[in-house]
Point group: C2
Chain length 342, copies 2
């Protein structure tokens, strides 16, 4: 932040007070057209770049939204952040991004950082925060909303937007059970305990409803410290239940890895095993075979969070939002009943 031209410099050159310069530049109504024009020209000529820091300090808002995200390179969160960014751009807001792995301590620190920077609002994604942590960050009054939090919020001032994970599990189970499968596996993730549990619970409950016995459902979760896609590969390799003909994966990354893992074992998808993912990544329709998946409205998740955040910032009450997933049947799942593809 080197010495730059300020409103004072312009004022000196123009022979007016800096007050007048400020007003001219902001398009204040009652100011003579001539001086407004002169000042604009001068500002341009002198290469004036308004200092948003000073403006923020005075105006008590920064026009920036803070977001804490688990992984910058995650394609799922990339789409969500894109949804957030779209509305930021439309509102002339900036995005202050902080990374925090799947870990409450890091997330807490990132949030505090954002609070210090006086962002107008915060969106935290994939939160692992405990009620105690939430109470702590709640002391500072900056409005915040959680997307797909791994814990229930127990907060009066904060809001959340969540995909209905349980319903997603139901969708997957219903799809597969209808196809006639009898023995199942679930490939889960230890990184997100909350949504993992909801998805697998919805899945199992629904399977049971369809008359499948619990002993016919094999469940595994991959280590928290490896990438999802690799985890999927590994879990596919490690699956030793010969009767399993259908697997539901926590997300598409795991499913894509599983596709590769099964192929490496010489197991044909979908002919020997059907696979269903979750998320509907851009990639997933181009995999081989194209992936059947439970789609999340990713951009909408981000936009909805921004919408809720905006009303929180305006000081109004809002409700939490729950978005509904939808099943997209592609070629990685097929019927065993008639030996036909779906």
């Amino acid at each position: 932040m080197a010495r730059r031209v300020s409103i004072m410099d312009i004022a000196a050159r123009a022979g007016v007070s800096h007050t007048t310069v400020s007003r001219a530049l902001r398009g204040h109504t009652r100011i003579s057209a001539v001086v407004r024009y002169r000042i604009a020209a001068l500002a341009d000529e002198m290469g004036y770049v308004p200092n948003a820091i000073a403006q923020s300090l005075k105006q008590q808002h920064t026009s920036t939204i803070g977001v804490v995200v688990s992984d910058m390179a995650d394609p799922f969160w990339g789409e969500v952040v894109k949804g957030i960014d779209d509305v930021c751009a439309a509102n002339d807001q900036s995005l202050l991004l902080h990374t925090a792995a799947h870990d409450a301590a890091q997330q807490l620190k990132a949030i505090q950082r954002l609070q210090q920077r006086r962002v107008d609002g915060i969106i935290v994604v994939d939160s692992q925060l405990e009620p105690r942590d939430v109470r702590q960050i709640e002391q500072d009054a900056t409005p915040t909303v959680f997307i797909n939090s791994q814990r229930t919020l127990e907060s009066t001032s904060f809001r959340s937007v969540t995909i209905d994970n349980y319903a997603g599990g139901e969708l997957a189970a219903h799809h597969l059970a209808t196809l006639g499968h009898q023995t199942y596996a679930y490939f889960g993730s230890h990184k997100r305990p909350g949504s993992n549990l909801q998805r697998v619970t919805g899945f199992i409950d629904t399977l049971v409803t369809h008359g499948i016995e619990r002993s016919k459902i094999f469940r595994t979760e991959c280590d928290a410290d490896i990438a999802d896609i690799e985890g999927g590969y590994t879990m596919a390799q490690a699956l030793h239940e010969p009767d399993v003909t259908a697997v539901f994966c926590y997300n598409d990354a795991i499913a894509l890895g599983a596709l590769a893992g099964f192929r490496a074992k010489g197991i044909a998808v979908p002919h020997q095993i059907s696979i269903v993912g979750f998320d509907d990544l851009a990639m997933s329709r181009y995999s081989w075979p194209p992936l059947t998946t439970v789609a999340q409205p990713k951009a909408l998740l981000g936009q909805t969070a921004m919408h809720i955040l905006a009303t929180l910032i305006d000081g109004h009450a809002v409700l939490d939002a729950v978005l509904v997933p939808t099943l997209i049947a592609r070629d990685s799942s097929m019927s065993l009943l008639k030996g036909l593809r779906t």
Copy 2:
């Protein structure tokens, strides 16, 4: 930015001046241990959150790095930004992210925004800025570095870090020519004219060196307004040269799309057509078949940019950096000479 507790409030409660509070909180050396402790306790109890905006205004730096990126959800740029973020985190810096499609006007606007916000430095990725634009943003002295710019920079104060695209094209050509292919296609991108041209030029030049005639090299670029993966799919579908047995794609996204496109046409990769991508996305080793590709050191690209930026911020001279790509042979390419896989 509601009314919060300030250093003044703490001072009042502690019965000292706000000067003392400031010093105590920042760990100033010459301050009695008792008052330091008392003030720390008070700050904690009162829920004091330091105002980074005020600090920035006074200290003339913001400890934030601005980055302008073409697409938040792009897996390649995600990895690069991750590299940037890693070093930001290590330096206690924040990341201010602005999106700007592949378009000079938007990028210019984003950069100006960042300058107003007084970030300590700017990294712009995939820049399309013309020399005239660069001259304009150069008036403001905030240090900036470009990663994989689409145009040569012609700037004295700004720096760039770039992958050697021409060398990447050479690598691909050499790999494929050595495998014995005689007729080629290139699937390019209109979105990045600079790197596209360099890659295809390196590719063709090297093929010629290997004795391939130019008339045996078919070149296409997909529309600028569709996603890469879809573009790859489309170009594969549209390829009507029956003799082509090897295609080099501008990037992995296009290659992955091409994989799907060829499969849809009933063309087997690699047995009928070999494919080579560029980037080495996390995905690419899990595709079917796993993708042969020219790898870019993505995190290193980001880290190097940060390193150069830091020395620019310190006011020292630095040179541009050119990073070198490397060929990763996987299963999407094979030899036609002996009918064997590579």
